[in-house]
Symmetry: C2
Subunit: 389 residues, 2 copies
């Protein structure tokens, strides 16, 4: 049974993503302020009944119990706040928790913020801090990195399906091209297939341009019960599905190296009570932490048959002007990947696109979209579905 | 408006609390197995639609993306899992998230697990790991510890209300007496007022017996929609309120040193749609991380007027045989405080008591109870209300 009340986005905010001088508190404040400013007919801060913070946390600022900090910086003192952490899927998980809260009828207006400050710690410290989001007992302590895990997936995908390395490169080329048009993107720089192929190898077959960067940044969403959304805007965006799934933490425990079951499970849940099916989704924000991850996502989400996402990419179908645009904001690859902010930022992009407010990167007649966020190497994942109201 | 569907507890599990040899995975598995075993008419693992993990995390095991690990160890592969972290209020926050999920109608059966492994890291490392849950920028880096923060609260409470130090000691004496009857408690040892007063000072006026210990342990809850609860047991326990609140992270930013506004806010939300008021609550599990915290909790929750919880304690009203028992399981003080497990363990105790299954520490005719969980030094808090169905 679909929920009796749905959640709708009425505002969204974003900082720049990149190597930023700002403290986490400042990033949170900037994202929240811009979210409130984006609401057409003022939602007061005092109307926000609950808030959700997505962050991997700590970094050099050593901030714990950090949800409380969100209440302070958002100017919503005293309200219930909670930190949601599912590694790189923290943002999507926080959005889903917020949606459930509105669907439960317990709150009419909620705030979701994702934030990460990553560039203020040494790379040695960061390697530990990020690395523990994969399997530690059998993989990390044996030397396997995240790039290494995704390289295994890429190599196996190439072996099983004949996926050409040029298709991976094309994911990077396309997402860099999209990032060029996004003022918040970390990299606003075009790259060519030959640049991607010639870049230093990080974990063969993945090179430097196959990997998303380390980033600072924040994003924020304001959601209300759909039944009251038009008080605040004539163009709310409905959240019509919010699914999640999980899988073994260690890649060697999983059934497949060429698909993420957590993504498949999350999509199945998201579509269960949605008013449309996969064929009606017009564009998607997917979790391209490495180029191979976008290929896997297209197949696991059912937008391409297994082994066919490479061809779809090479044909240009996923380009901004293609038949099924993917990552029009540049994706993690070019926009950047401040861990906790990523899943929230995906919804921000969809909010802009479905309201026709995405400027130079606007997708024409965008009405229905999907966001896909992955935690670690695929042990957790979320999928959310959006529709112009 | 009260929710159209309520959540009900149908099972609960618990490990011993204390200095344990077990790994976090083992603790999770033991708590979950005992929760499933406690269900009168078998709930299958495959019926659990979602799971919530409360943990401060990491410790020596360096486990990130840890919610995925819960799915593995609980034998519920693929289901949505999420980690909820609000410092020491993680357990209460996870319970509240689970309740909202059932109230939203999206799941019929959910699992909540709280776990912490604390004794496998050096005290220096642990001091950092726990300390960051307070304010770092202005308090921790200036040398203020958690015991120090609560000592400030105690000193101010004594100054404002004439609270005698014997009342703090009596909290410890009472909770140690209760812990004697709890086979899962870390300390099964009676203490006398003179022992508490003669113990080494940790942060004046708080001595060793005023402080809860460092503990390993886990607890688990199985919740279902109330409408189906009697399929699984004749004695479900309804969750009729689940509130939360927040406050400034730094104590010096708060309005008061003698009350936690986050607790007051959480209680107000919990009682908003509850079928009974404070006067009908028969006993409570409150967050006694330090003895003064139990005094503050009684006043903030409205069970004693400001300044009167000390007298209430000295009169024996909060003893297991008193008119309003508090922490019949021994509380954090004697049962132990494995951070993420604490808020879950409070609900475990209430589940036993309201079903008449608390053995030697059973409170007669227990029908309605409250659980209160605090994060950090009071920047977050949760309150939940329970009723025998």
């Amino acid at each position: 049974m679909p929920p009796s009340e749905r959640a709708a986005l009425i505002g969204a905010g974003h900082t720049r993503f990149g190597v930023l001088p700002d403290a986490p508190r400042t990033l949170i404040r900037e994202a929240v302020d811009s979210a409130f400013a984006s609401v057409d007919r003022g939602l007061e801060r005092s109307q926000v009944g609950e808030a959700f913070l997505a962050t991997l946390g700590f970094s050099g600022w050593q901030l714990g119990n950090s949800a409380a900090l969100l209440a302070e910086e958002a100017g919503i003192p005293g309200v219930p706040v909670v930190r949601i952490e599912n590694a790189c899927a923290s943002g999507g998980s926080a959005l889903r928790a917020a949606v459930r809260t509105i669907e439960s009828g317990s709150q009419e207006a909620v705030l979701v913020v994702g934030v990460e400050k990553m560039t203020d710690v040494s790379s040695r410290r960061r390697r530990y801090w990020l690395g523990v989001s994969g399997d530690t007992e059998w993989e990390r302590l044996a030397g396997l990195t995240f790039a290494g895990v995704y390289a295994l997936m890429a190599a196996r995908h190439m072996h099983d399906y004949g996926t050409p390395i040029e298709a991976l490169a094309q994911v990077a080329v396309k997402n860099h091209a999209n990032g060029l048009l996004n003022p918040n993107a970390q990299f606003r720089k075009a790259v060519r297939v030959e640049d991607v192929l010639a870049a230093p190898r990080v974990a063969d077959p993945l090179g430097l341009y196959d990997c998303c960067p380390v980033s600072d940044g924040a994003s924020a969403l304001l959601l209300v019960a759909e039944s009251v959304a038009r008080r605040y805007t004539d163009t709310p965006v409905r959240v019509v599905g919010a699914g999640a799934g999980s899988d073994h933490l260690a890649v060697h425990d999983r059934e497949s190296l060429t698909s993420l079951h957590a993504t498949q499970r999350a999509a199945a849940e998201a579509f269960r009570h949605a008013p449309f099916d996969r064929s009606k989704v017009q564009f998607a924000e997917v979790h391209d932490c490495f180029t191979i991850a976008e290929i896997l996502a297209l197949e696991d989400l059912g937008f391409a048959a297994p082994g066919e996402a490479a061809q779809m990419t090479l044909e240009g179908a996923t380009a901004r002007s293609g038949r099924f645009p993917v990552n029009p904001d540049g994706g993690l690859k070019s926009k950047g990947h401040p861990i906790g902010a990523t899943g929230v930022s995906q919804a921000y992009e969809i909010f802009l696109q479905l309201r026709g407010a995405a400027g130079a990167r606007q997708i024409p007649q965008a009405e229905r979209a999907l966001a896909h966020n992955v935690g670690g190497s695929g042990a957790t994942a979320t999928v959310a579905l959006f529709e112009r109201a």
